[in-house]
């Protein structure tokens, strides 16, 4: 799939202003807005181990430092280690009947590292009870963590105390006269040292780390002996075990596998989920998946004539309708200086041709919810609508530069709904769609091939990348809110990287 979606030549502008390929975008069905991973809330649903597919509660994960207790990764190549069986001779060699004892060791299928390489003895149980490496600095770390925890506690207590003090009736005169407490103390002959209450109940401070001025001399063998690179660990191998940072390969020990998370993504404006995975770690399905790929027509470049500066050339793009509803696509000129707000407000505008069912009240709510987005005012100024946006983010300006004019077609075209059975239908296309032959070159089921004329700007340098952009307006059929499907005009800014400019003949 990545060879189709991978080269991101066609990018859609997310509502937050970032440009992403359609496979990276989400579509909130409640706000009618594109969302990307940058402008949604990420929430961790569950922690699990990718090897043993075991769900681990978040409290347990925290205790285990987000690592699986049973699974290990290879310290040499970071792949997962598997347990292998080695049979050891019978327990007592005289008795021929005694079965050979099974022993287990860890082995990497990828780089053939095994726990025997570093002299870890084989274990008699499958799950191991592999020896845990004690961190040499664990005591010191614990000391420091305890101290900082105590400081946090002391500061909190101090804060509480200060709050209580402020409520007291007596004003301190030092505040008014400008005489500081320290100066006052000095005047009345008290020791100037004033121990701050925080410092007073300061916890026991651990021994401070001492800086060494004398460094060991460079060992001579570094200069005299040739380096055997196979005995020295790579940077990746060292950083995999930050507490030990082994220098030589004989100190590489198996590392507990890091846990993975399942996360759900939530639209920040309406707080609806745009993506929610199934809870079961072994399942790769979703409960909610509002990917833009399923809602927004997909655009792909089919062919483009050689691009020459100032010369018009033909561009053929393919439009695919992924939805179960017919849609009409129109083109609008992309104006980069235009305020993004207009785009937002346009979206909320309800086309009333077909949705007579929408009551007036609902409409008001719709416009209310859209208001904070379009005007980006503090939401407190507006009377609270039913669904208050949790966060209002002003969309950033689109950074993509457009250096190619596009002749925006005035006519629109229809895309029929997606029909999975059409692939197996040999009867040919029997659509009766009146197409503008200048615009639509060819169509098949829910796809249409559209001809566009583009002209790279005449002042472009050779081999510079040519980018064109337009606004695609398509009719989005909403089936969520009410029984009757409602139709909206949805606009998306689309940017196409057409390739490099070639010389003029």
């Amino acid at each position: 799939m990545s060879y189709i979606t991978g080269p991101d030549v066609v990018k859609y502008a997310c509502s937050c202003g970032l440009l992403k390929p359609i496979s990276h975008l989400y579509f909130c069905r409640y706000c009618f807005q594109l969302r990307c991973s940058f402008c949604v809330c990420h929430e961790v649903d569950s922690n699990f181990c990718g090897k043993c597919s075991e769900n681990i509660p978040s409290s347990e994960a925290r205790v285990k430092k987000n690592r699986c207790g049973n699974c290990y990764v290879c310290p040499s190549c970071q792949q997962e280690l598997s347990t292998r069986i080695a049979s050891k001779g019978p327990v007592n060699p005289e008795d021929s009947k005694s079965t050979p004892k099974k022993m287990y060791y860890l082995s990497c299928q990828f780089c053939r590292w095994s726990s025997r390489d570093v002299g870890i003895p084989d274990q008699s149980t499958v799950t191991g009870g592999w020896p845990e490496r004690e961190n040499v600095h664990s005591n010191r770390l614990q000391e420091l963590v305890d101290m900082y925890k105590a400081i946090v506690l002391a500061q909190k207590q101090q804060k509480d105390k200060d709050k209580k003090k402020q409520r007291g009736k007596f004003l301190s005169y030092t505040d008014r006269t400008g005489v500081t407490a320290a100066a006052l103390r000095k005047r009345i002959g008290l020791p100037a040292e004033f121990t701050h209450p925080i410092l007073k109940n300061k916890p026991k401070e651990p021994e401070p780390a001492s800086a060494k001025t004398e460094v060991d001399e460079v060992p001579e063998q570094l200069l005299t002996e040739p380096i055997n690179l196979m005995e020295i660990t790579t940077v990746e191998q060292r950083l995999l075990q930050p507490e030990a940072q082994p220098v030589t390969v004989d100190k590489l020990f198996p590392v507990h596998k890091q846990l993975s998370i399942k996360r759900s993504l939530r639209c920040r404006h309406c707080e609806h989920n745009v993506s929610k995975p199934e809870y079961n770690p072994s399942s790769v399905k979703f409960k909610i998946q509002l990917f833009a790929y399923y809602h927004i027509p997909e655009i792909r470049i089919v062919t483009v004539e050689p691009l020459r500066a100032g010369k018009q050339c033909e561009l053929i793009v393919k439009f695919t309708n992924p939805t179960q509803h017919q849609t009409t696509i129109a083109f609008l000129k992309l104006n980069m200086d235009e305020e993004d707000a207009s785009l937002d407000s346009e979206v909320a505008e309800v086309i009333q041709d077909l949705d007579q069912t929408l009551s007036l009240q609902e409409k008001q709510q719709m416009s209310l919810t859209s208001l904070p987005l379009s005007t980006s005012q503090p939401s407190s100024l507006i009377s609270v609508p039913s669904r208050q946006p949790s966060l209002t983010i002003e969309p950033r300006k689109i950074s993509q530069e457009v250096n190619c004019d596009i002749e925006v077609p005035t006519s629109s075209f229809i895309l029929p709904p997606r029909d999975d059975a059409a692939e197996y239908d040999d009867s040919g296309d029997t659509h009766n769609i009146q197409d503008d032959p200048k615009l639509v070159k060819w169509r098949k089921s829910n796809k249409a091939f559209i001809k566009l004329n583009v002209t790279p700007m005449s002042d472009l340098a050779l081999n510079s990348e040519v980018v064109c952009g337009f606004i695609m307006q398509h009719i989005y059929t909403n089936t969520v809110a009410s029984k009757e499907p409602q139709k909206y005009n949805h606009k998306v800014k689309v940017f196409l990287r057409l390739g490099q400019l070639v010389g003029s003949e």
């Binding site: 190549c77 780089c111 053939r112 095994s114 025997r116 390489d117 196979m230 390969v249």
Partner: protein
């Protein structure tokens, strides 16, 4: 040299569909899958016992350009015993010892001498002139090298199964040499 001179020792399993060109000797117990290619271009190839040569494998005896003009001797490519050539690997090495594993889609150039117990990982490209020491393991996209503890395990079980299965589905070249 253009004439094919294939010597198959008894016990070897060479499929009819394998492509063998030049002077090749295949030792007993060796299995050559269909669509494996062995080309003895620069001189004869002698393959030892119990080697496993899987599909799409290319073993080519080809000299580096700077050595091609030396006419005095014809070099012989000797491949030791118990070597495993996995699917779609290309090996042009001038000398191969015993117990080596060439994993899938790896490439070993014609300046690389392979000793014993080496593993060339999947997809690794080794072309620089060198002699691989014993039990060297090359792995990963950066062709990282490390030294193994001992030789890789033998594929006896797999070979046994194959020697039973292959004759049921493929035409086998008859051994034409006596021990």
């Amino acid at each position: 040299m253009s004439r094919n001179n294939i010597k198959i020792l008894p016990g070897a399993l060479v499929c009819e569909e394998s492509k063998l060109r030049g002077d090749i000797t295949i030792g007993s117990g060796t299995i050559v899958h269909p669509s494996a290619t062995i080309i003895a271009e620069a001189g004869p190839i002698i393959i030892g016992e119990c080697c496993l040569i899987e599909e799409q494998v290319k073993i080519i005896h080809r000299l580096p350009f700077d050595q091609q003009n030396k006419e005095n001797t014809t070099p012989v490519l000797i491949i030791g015993s118990h070597n495993v050539f996995e699917v779609d690997c290309t090996v042009e090495s001038p000398k191969i010892g015993n117990n080596n594993v060439f994993e899938s889609k790896c490439y070993v150039g014609n300046k690389v001498t392979v000793s014993n117990g080496c593993i060339i990982g999947a997809g690794c490209r080794v072309t620089e002139e060198q002699i691989l020491k014993e039990n060297i393991i090359i792995f990963g996209s950066k062709c990282q090298m490390r030294e193994g503890l001992d030789r890789p395990g033998l594929q006896t079980l797999q070979m046994e199964t194959l020697s039973k299965m292959i004759p049921n589905y493929h035409h086998i070249k008859k051994p034409n040499k006596k021990v």
